[in-house]
């Protein structure tokens, strides 16, 4: 801390106070001394008071004032101290009066000293605010500040929105068995739905049949959560990286981040899915958001829907809106009611337990909320980009 203070400051009693510069010592307060009738000039040498006060008035700086203090009020041999000591030498009958007069003079000098010091402190402060005023438009001293990656920030905001609705977080492996990624999610080999997920395969085949892949969605971790949960309810979000074997462009990236939510239990309805998504959309994009569902298809849900929300940029009014392309609606995510076959395979009773699942692309949300034009910025890690969030 000390090195931050400029040299003309010094530490006094726990705070930073200014000291006066030598040129700043002129008196601006009222007359310092007057003849006081209470002092018996018969007992105290005449002119002593005037001499002391005169000397104080002409003390030009802190050192001179200190010298004056030592000369007049110093404990060892200050002139007034000596005067007070001389009370013993006074005749007995005038001793009391002499003492009173000397004490009165001491009080006066002390008071004058305090006034003088106060005047100097005030003058120094005035100096500080005027000739020593800062150019406050000069830049501050740079401090090191880090930032979270925009994908992390967005991920956390989404996670928080769901946590507030009672969901907890479960994470699972990015390198997965194809069984979890596809078969258990009702996407068998030779099903055209596999075209929806272009897969990056790992070059290891275990026992000649179990293939590993880079998960194409976080759905396999939903399956894992159900596997280790003997009995509903389940309310979980499964975030993480996913991978797609596809060419990158402004809206496609082969490494992406997804958050899926899964709720299973008695009485879980599609209207709850709508409610949860409504809550999430409002948390992330503002309280006046509206959402709609339209029909979609994912093998692991039935019914399947896509959620769109009204455009938070043009609010449906801009025919040339870049965010919603003039449609007034922005497609945000896919969702649906968990297919009963998946519920039953988890060992639950699909006639009793229902569930919903949804999946959000974190990058897509980040692109939307900040109006970023190209998804490829995220993993190029150019600080000129990252430092803006």
């Amino acid at each position: 801390m000390g090195e931050l203070a400029p040299d003309n400051w010094h530490l006094v009693a726990g705070g930073w106070w200014p000291t006066a510069s030598p040129t700043a010592l002129s008196l601006t307060s009222g007359p310092l001394y007057t003849q006081d009738s209470m002092i018996d000039s018969a007992l105290i040498p005449p002119g002593l008071e005037a001499e002391a006060l005169g000397a104080l008035a002409s003390a030009a700086d802190e050192a001179a004032i200190e010298a004056w203090r030592v000369q007049w009020l110093g404990r060892q041999d200050g002139r007034l101290t000596a005067l007070l000591r001389s009370v013993k030498e006074q005749p007995v009958e005038s001793r009391a009066a002499f003492g009173a007069a000397a004490n009165e003079l001491k009080r006066k000098l002390e008071s004058a000293l305090a006034d003088r010091n106060e005047a100097i402190r005030k003058e120094a402060l005035r100096e500080l605010s005027t000739s020593a005023a800062l150019d406050v438009t000069l830049p501050g001293r740079p401090q090191a500040i880090g930032r979270l990656h925009p994908v992390t920030q967005t991920m956390r905001d989404i996670v928080k929105a769901f946590e507030e609705m009672g969901f907890r977080v479960a994470e699972g492996p990015e390198v997965e068995w194809d069984r979890y990624n596809f078969d258990a999610a009702r996407i068998p080999e030779d099903h055209p739905a596999r075209d929806m997920w272009d897969t990056i395969w790992v070059n290891t085949l275990i026992d000649g049949k179990r293939s590993m892949l880079l998960r194409t969605h976080t759905t396999p971790n939903q399956i894992r959560v159900m596997e280790r949960t003997p009995e509903p309810p389940i309310r979980v979000i499964v975030p993480g990286k996913c991978y797609r074997q596809e060419a990158t462009d402004a809206t496609h990236e082969w490494m992406l981040t997804q958050i899926e939510a899964l709720a299973v239990g008695e009485g879980v309805r599609m209207s709850d899915l709508k409610g949860v998504l409504y809550g999430m959309a409002r948390k992330l994009f503002g309280n006046d958001r509206k959402i709609i569902f339209h029909h979609s298809y994912f093998p692991f849900v039935e019914p399947g829907v896509e959620m769109a929300m009204d455009c938070f940029i043009c609010r449906g009014s801009g025919s040339d809106c870049r965010t919603c392309h003039g449609t007034g609606w922005i497609e945000i995510l896919g969702a649906g009611m968990v297919h009963p076959e998946i519920i039953d395979k988890a060992g639950y009773d699909s006639s009793k337990h229902t569930g919903f699942a949804l999946g959000i692309g974190v990058e897509r949300v980040a692109l939307l909320r900040w109006g970023i034009e190209d998804i490829r910025h995220f993993y190029q890690n150019d600080l000129r980009f990252l430092a803006q969030f």
Binding site: A144, A193, M270, S271, H295, N381
Partner: protein, 806 residues
């Protein structure tokens, strides 16, 4: 899938504005990506249907003719150069001022009439190019004979073509009729199904051809019909127009009928030249090992025994559901047509077309699953068109081999289940209306159950919830309320590693580090540069079969290459301090199992410290900046960590410390070896921090060690110690911090290290600030002197340190 609005209107009346229609389809049926309006620029006043009534030679030019056209508002004479002009044709006729595409320049222009070779022309008979329909400019556009003379062309020929993504389970939506059915159910407008009636001759189809299915698991149904005395020629203009509009090339009336019916119904068909079919016998069977077939596209293909082939008496003539073979193709000489409409197992079609790398209009439909009932439907529709358009005679009956026939399924849907899934009750009348509209059979089973038979063209409907989806999407999801989950919350599942990870992430950001996220896939040479050559595990990373690019072919076993690359890339356009970190995984291979995804923080710092505007040039960030950040993290976590000099591959010896906490080696802090830095194009000192979160989580205290602040003042004392230069400062601190004497607790910090003048060779001086604190009293000078004496004795014994100048 392309969808023509005009074609759609054959089956259902649609009067909605196009954007509204698109919205209805998106909400309930399929993803409308875009649409194109055909004829948007055709002036209804100036471009109309006309009929050619007479043609005369041009008096002054051999290649031009004078045509008289009936415009509906009188006859006009025009000069025309088109070779295909014939009397009786319906044509598009433009008058002065019409906005057209210039046939030569391809640019929009306004029609200006002037005499051609001395003959006045009252207008212009238009080509497709001039109308912006295609680039065809060789001849005029011939309109269907049904076109009404005098009608604005935009009404006759204008159209809207939607580009639609349909779902992977809905082959029925790969036919225009499928959308007709959907719209009928959505809007309530009546559905008009296409005509499927035709006459039959006395000859029985079954006497002309035999069909055998040897592998009924792959071929669920095979229907065949025979049409005799076919005249092969061009199909009518309206049919060609529609095929073109949906992206198919007209060939001849026989092939065009099969394509038309496929685009209409979603069911692929295949026409054989009956006379080329050897032994008049069709067999559907698995291919034999080594069997080959040259398909219609001229490619000789090797078949595998899981592929279904269609054979005649002489061998394979087609790959079932994918593509026919060249030998039995319909040609201009064809007199008799054998029409195949079959149904194949969808997974098998997808597998075969994947192996053959042959995706066709037929395979795309079959792989999505077509209802076997559609084979018969499409047969009769095609036979109707054959009778109308080919002059052929349809023989009697279909040959219909249907081993996959199953009784029409019934699904019981209760009102309670509808409400359980959707969260709302749908009134019984609406349930009946919607399902009937979609083609279901619906019976009420009191008190509140519907017994439904899904339509034959919807094999995707298997369970009650499938039916509920149909109800939900047609009824409208906008009618769903927004409700909140009810009931018990599940138990929390603690995840201390995740908690630690997020805390460390926040701490790193707070300490001035910028978070980055790098690709988790890398390439071997980069890994090999950063990884210890003796680290066999990390040098044998998992690879991927089909990387997006060769530099992303291996799952990283170290995050250092990506961090170094990012550092170098940012240094190219940024001076000053760089502090980067990422928390991610190392993917460490595990025998016969998924890899260990090991959570690691990797950080790099380097460059000059933040410069003060008042002029001091920033000094370089150094090892102790990196270490200070590590200390701050552990301090915040309440973990007491220790550092020891060490050496590791890629790190500069003498500038490398292991970080240990408790029994765990939790990380490393070091200067990156200049050679390694240089190999990533970094030519300045750069410092690395790696923290291993899985090890850290094991030494994390459950809660911070708490002690109430003492009421008594502490005594501070600065001392200078002289000790061997090789003795680590940490040893001095260990002694200080462990020293207890008479209820006095000691702590200490080193605030200076000095070697050089005044210090004996091989020794160093450490300046230590000591703090003495008693819990129960204010310390006296005597107390401090006594504790100090004991401490100095220990420092002498345990660290070889003496009081300097003492």
């Amino acid at each position: 899938m392309k969808l023509s609005l005009n074609w759609l209107r054959d089956y259902v009346d649609v009067d909605l504005p196009v954007p509204e229609l698109a919205r209805l389809l998106i909400d309930a049926t399929a993803e409308v990506e875009s649409w194109e309006t055909i004829g948007a620029g055709w002036d209804p006043e100036r471009i109309r249907v006309a009929e050619v009534v007479a043609i005369a030679p041009h008096p002054d030019a051999d290649r031009l003719r004078l045509a008289t056209v009936e415009t509906g508002a009188g006859r006009q004479q025009v000069v025309c150069g088109a070779p295909n002009l014939e009397v009786g044709q319906k044509v598009a006729f433009a008058t002065e001022g019409a906005e057209l595409i210039d046939g030569h320049t391809g640019k929009p222009s306004k029609l200006k009439l002037r005499p051609i070779r001395g003959v006045e022309s009252a207008g212009m008979v238009l080509s497709e190019k001039e109308l912006g329909l295609s680039d065809a400019h060789e001849g005029i556009l011939v309109l269907p004979a049904t076109a009404k003379v005098g009608r604005p062309l935009v009404e006759e020929l204008g159209d809207v073509v939607f580009d639609i993504s349909t779902w992977a389970n809905r082959a029925d939506l790969l036919g225009v009729l499928g959308f007709g059915r959907e719209l009928s159910a959505i809007t309530g407008a009546a559905l008009r199904e296409p005509a499927r009636d035709h006459r039959e001759s006395e000859t029985k189809a079954a006497d002309m051809v035999s069909v055998t299915i040897e592998d009924p698991d792959l071929c669920l149904r095979f229907t065949a019909s025979v049409i005799e005395d076919v005249t092969v020629g061009p199909s009518p203009a309206w049919m060609q127009e529609r095929l073109l509009r949906l992206g198919m090339r007209p060939i001849n009336n026989v092939v065009d009928i099969t394509n038309y019916v496929m685009l209409e119904t979603g069911q692929p068909l295949h026409a054989f030249d009956y006379d080329q079919v050897r032994d008049k016998r069709i067999v559907a069977r698995r291919a034999k090992p080594g069997e080959r077939l040259t398909t219609l596209d001229g490619i000789d293909r090797e078949l595998d025994p899981e592929m279904l082939v269609i054979c005649d008496g002489g061998g394979p003539v087609g790959i079932g559901g994918i593509m026919g073979g060249g030998k039995s193709e319909v040609s201009e000489k064809t007199k008799t047509v054998l029409l195949e409409v079959a149904n194949f197992k969808r997974g098998s079609i997808r597998r075969s077309s994947g192996i053959l790398k042959l995706r066709t209009e037929a395979s795309l439909r079959f792989e999505k699953g077509i209802g076997p009932a559609m084979a018969e439907y499409a047969q009769h529709r095609a036979l109707h068109l054959f009778e109308q358009l080919s002059g052929g005679r349809v023989t009697k009956g279909l040959v219909d081999i249907y081993p996959g026939e199953t009784p029409r399924g019934t699904i019981l849907v209760t009102a309670a289940r509808i409400e359980q899934v959707l969260g709302i009750a749908i009134p019984a009348n609406d349930v009946r209306r919607i399902l009937t509209g979609l083609g279901y059979g619906v019976q009420d089973v009191p008190p509140a159950t519907f017994s439904v038979q899904p339509p034959g063209w919807r094999p995707d409907l298997e369970i009650p919830d499938d039916v509920i989806e149909d109800l939900g999407r047609i009824y409208g999801y906008d009618k769903l309320p927004t409700t909140m989950l009810e009931g018990r919350l599940p138990d929390p599942e603690p995840n201390p590693l995740r908690d630690l990870r997020e805390r460390v992430r926040d701490l790193a950001v707070g300490l001035g580090f910028q978070e980055i996220i790098t690709y988790t896939l890398t390439e071997l040479p980069k890994l090999a540069r950063a990884v210890d050559p003796s680290d066999a595990l990390r040098l044998a990373p998992l690879g991927v079969v089909n990387p997006v690019a060769s530099q992303y072919a291996y799952l990283r076993t170290s995050m250092r290459p990506a961090l170094l690359e990012t550092y170098a890339a940012n240094r190219r356009h940024q001076d000053g301090p760089l502090r980067l970190f990422e928390i991610g995984f190392e993917y460490l291979p595990v025998e016969a199992d998924l890899p260990h995804e090991r959570t690691v923080l990797c950080a790099l710092i380097g460059g000059t410290r933040e410069a003060r505007w008042s002029g001091t040039a920033g000094e370089r960030l150094d090892f102790f900046d990196a270490k200070g950040a590590v200390e701050a993290v552990f301090d915040a976590l309440g973990v007491r960590e220790a550092y020891s000099a060490t050496s590791h591959f890629g790190l500069l010896e003498g500038h490398t410390a292991d970080v240990v906490a408790g029994k765990e080696h939790v990380g490393v802090v070091a200067q990156v070896h200049p050679d390694l830095a240089a190999s990533f194009e970094i030519d300045e000192p750069v410092f690395l921090v790696e923290l291993w979160l899985e090890e850290m989580v094991r030494v994390l205290p459950e809660r911070p060690e708490y002690a109430a602040p003492s009421r008594f003042p502490e005594v501070r004392q600065d001392i200078a110690l002289l000790l061997d230069a090789a003795t680590p400062a940490a040893r001095v601190l260990e002694v200080v911090r462990s020293h207890r004497s008479g209820g006095v607790r000691l702590s200490g910090d080193i605030f200076d290290e000095y070697r050089g003048e005044g210090i004996p060779e091989g020794q160093k001086s450490l300046a230590v600030r000591l703090r003495y604190q008693a819990e129960d009293r204010t310390l006296t000078d005597a107390d401090v002197a006594k504790v100090q004496a004991g401490l100095l004795k220990r420092l002498g014994n345990e660290a070889g340190a003496t009081l300097r100048g003492g």
